[in-house]
Symmetry: C2
Subunit: 223 residues, 2 copies
DNA sequence: TGAAAATGATAGTAATACTATTATATTTGC
DNA sequence: GCAAATATAATAGTATTACTATCATTTTCA
């Protein structure tokens, strides 16, 4: 996908973990297989005990990396948004035309992810499915304000802000740039979900993509 | 709010419950206080045991109405969308101008709910908060396809379809009417959530409402 | 090579999400 | 007004979850 990034480490707020999973072999296995297991059985049924069994490791060892499965989800979520942000920054960096730039950004955040081998132990295609199915659970909690203060959502917010800037470059007088940016990103996930599970309330299918819908929506609004 | 509805019973798919909570005093207390308790401690911490304590009733009695707390959430969600649907139908019924009609519909699905005393034991203001905070959890599960087949989401889908029809009345050639309708409804909830917890990524606040943003978005897109 | 760090194994706890059984109220139909 | 039916309450029990704590073993690396 973006070869430039091959040696780059995706950086996640360090309060999310107890011990950086990137710092050891076990840590990387935890990330790699938690993604596969959550995709397989869903976040609600996912436990550290089951993950331990899957990777032939001990439950207590996993607790040395993450204080709870919720923190692990926050980690995966931050990692995903950081990864997307890099894609977005590189893909739009040299685009001078504001409309083209935003359109490219929309393409990045709405597209169906394809195999990316830059970060060997993480399967971005599967992670994308997890984000579609589980991401809301990372912030729809009673602790959200506290966790927000701790900085657990900075990367996501930064991504939205980047999109807001691109929107304002097209139309500096548009009053809802932040809301539009957050709606594009949320709606992209939602339309992908509907396409899989509620086909009767979306136009998205094999031919029409969330990108088609959202780029059309955005460009018409800012026109 | 809409006085015509005073004697109407909101109808929820009957596979969701074991025994209709509307059919007894205890049932109504379960609904009334589950809304208050979920709002208070969040759905994740909510248990039937705690609810039993709150209403001075027994955990096992609650299980005779709902097989799990997940089913109770599905009930509350269906009830909410059915209630909204009635509001929408009555508010738009006599509006002949297509633009005005859709605008009214957007107003209904985006507005901050105010006290409605038509259904005495249900506090719609609090229920609306629950929908904003917990609704996604009702369908972001591994069982969604099965539950969808069982008809647990018909009311929500019907509401989206009503909005789609209104969109197509304005512009019959618009290709994304379903996606736009589902986006309006989801984004309304999401913007309300952001307004409460992530003010830095929304333009919505005390002056600018999700209605302002979404009606502007919709009318420009269909123009 | 020896100390420190990481991991594994085991045990334990309080809470969750139920099911089952039996006892006690309450409703209702005659 | 009373018996039968129905609803609710009380109690107990189970497997699982979401951890914490302790101690043993293995790996790392200075």
């Amino acid at each position: 996908m973006i070869e430039l990034l091959s040696n780059l480490k995706i950086s996640v707020p360090d309060k999310i973990f107890i011990k950086d999973p990137e710092s050891s072999k076990l840590g990387k296995r935890i990330i790699e297989y938690s993604i596969l297991l959550i995709d397989e059985i869903g976040f609600d049924s996912f436990t550290f005990k089951k993950l331990g069994q899957k990777i032939g490791s001990n439950e207590s060892s996993i607790y040395r990396y993450f204080e709870s499965k919720h923190k692990l989800l926050l980690y995966l979520s931050s990692w995903y948004w950081a990864w997307l942000e890099y894609q977005l920054v590189f893909a739009t960096h040299n685009v001078s035309d504001a409309n083209e730039k935003l359109d490219k950004a929309i393409e990045i955040v709405t597209r169906t992810i394809e195999k990316d081998s830059n970060f060997s132990h993480i399967d971005e295609v599967v992670l994308n499915r997890i984000i579609i199915n589980e991401n809301s659970k990372s912030y729809l909690t009673k602790e959200v304000d506290l966790e927000n203060k701790e900085g657990y959502f900075v990367i996501y917010k930064r991504l939205i802000n980047r999109m807001k800037d691109m929107i304002l470059q097209i139309n500096p007088k548009y009053s809802y740039a932040l809301s539009l940016a957050s709606t594009i990103v949320e709606s992209a996930l939602h339309q992908h979900f509907l396409k899989e599970h509620f086909q009767s309330i979306t136009n998205c299918n094999d031919e029409i993509t969330p990108y088609n819908f959202l780029s059309h929506l955005t460009l018409n609004t800012l026109r």
